[in-house]
Assembly symmetry: C2
Homo-oligomer: 263 residues x 2
């Protein structure tokens, strides 16, 4: 198992499918895009798809499956989203009920699965360009904040945008914008640069989710739309049932991050 | 009326709303994005939204309205899509039944309206960069071709991609790719450059829609995904009812083309 970092995306999914890997996926299958999962009963599907269409920065759709479908087509040709994620959270009426390693026994024919992009894709590009990614350096979870920026509502779904923050040396902020702009389908360019209070954030030391990170002299806080937004928005509606990946335990696709870049 | 080219997007929509302009909209409100319209009964809405999500190059969604809603929010704050388009086509079971100047009397509370981007947005950027746009020079409709490239199907919707062709001097092809890449939300970069037969096009002189244009020595045929694709795809399903704009008679938004550019 110590060689898991050398495995291909297919190889890791095969391990996960057999229940032999139930840990976080950060750092695995480097170069390949990882995805967030949201599964909803069909009655919520149009509204949620519309919500994602209206809010592409926090909710970048990589693939949406037909009702009842559990095999991906774009992200992989041999994946089963009922078994190929290390840990799933099952929510009933907005409350976490179980965390499980596979969801075949919970599957229903009206389930619609949404796979959304993850900031791992652009963080890899930042690291490759020698731009520091502090939470990776400090081996922490990225700090996340609830902002005062409302998402555009759609049907029953509404709520504020959640953002991630990465401190960037001021002379590298332009390059950071350029690099992340290439990943327009995966959160893309920052949504805010500088004063956190402008977007309703009171204390960078007290993130709403994740861990605080060191901000060094000469660094500017840079904020990106965050994939926690869609999950937070779904939970406000308290659907009868909703299944997601467990945070950090992502779906590993066969698509290269480079294939997600727009140019 | 001879001053219509000087009017703002709001001014032109006001004229159209009063029934005082029912001609094509090319060249009006320069700088502002124009949009294609597809209205479908709600039972088709999830499948069509999914089709657009899976095929963003031919089907770039600018705005989707909630079921029954006829006022836009993103594209304009004062538009009514029942009255603000010069001419509408009403299709019943896939056949054109009427062409009308407003659709208030046909409106139903389960109608879902999809507004899709239009290549006018990137053509303006090409012209501004001194890249020739032949059908504009020759005062023709852009040549369109049905390709052998299948769209990704979604629910009941499937069909081949339709493309537009613009001949570009070979030394300007790279610049053309760069410029149109900025408009990723509005068809974006070309989907094919060069030999038409590769994508199933037999004769550039015989487009499936629009007019043939002159291809000069040293010019390369360059192909972009075309907004006719979603309409063609909808018609194959022969929905009970479908309302679209009449070709060339677009919705004029208050959004600048520059606002649609990704960077």
């Amino acid at each position: 198992m110590k060689d898991i970092r050398q495995l291909s995306s297919q190889g890791i999914r095969a391990l996960i499918r057999k229940g032999k890997w139930d840990k976080p996926t950060a750092g695995l299958a480097m170069g390949y895009a990882q995805a967030n999962l949201v599964i909803l009963p069909q009655k919520y599907a149009f509204d949620f798809l519309l919500f994602c269409q209206r809010n592409p920065k926090p909710c970048p759709l990589l693939e949406v499956l037909e009702p009842g479908e559990f095999r991906t087509k774009s992200l992989s040709l041999d994946a089963d989203i009922r078994t190929d994620i290390p840990r799933y959270n099952i929510y009933q009426k907005g409350k976490l009920h179980h965390t499980v390693k596979e969801i075949r026994r919970f599957w229903k024919p009206d389930f619609v699965s949404f796979l959304l992009g993850c900031s791992f894709s652009f963080e890899e590009a930042l690291v490759r360009s020698k731009i520091p990614v502090r939470h990776i350096e400090e081996n922490k979870n990225v700090p996340m904040f609830i902002t005062n920026i409302p998402c555009k509502p759609a049907g029953v779904f509404r709520g504020p945008m959640v953002v991630t923050m990465r401190p960037i040396p001021s002379e590298k902020v332009s390059r950071t914008v350029q690099i992340t702009s290439r990943y327009a389908w995966v959160h893309g360019a920052p949504i805010h640069i500088g004063d956190p209070s402008t977007i309703g954030i009171k204390a960078l030391k007290k993130p709403d989710f994740g861990d605080p990170v060191t901000i060094k002299k000469g660094e500017v806080p840079v904020f990106w739309a965050c994939g926690v937004t869609p999950q937070a928005v779904v939970m406000t509606v308290k659907p009868d049932l909703c299944i997601t990946h467990s945070p950090g335990h992502m779906f590993i696709s066969d698509l290269l991050n480079e294939e997600l870049a727009i140019f």
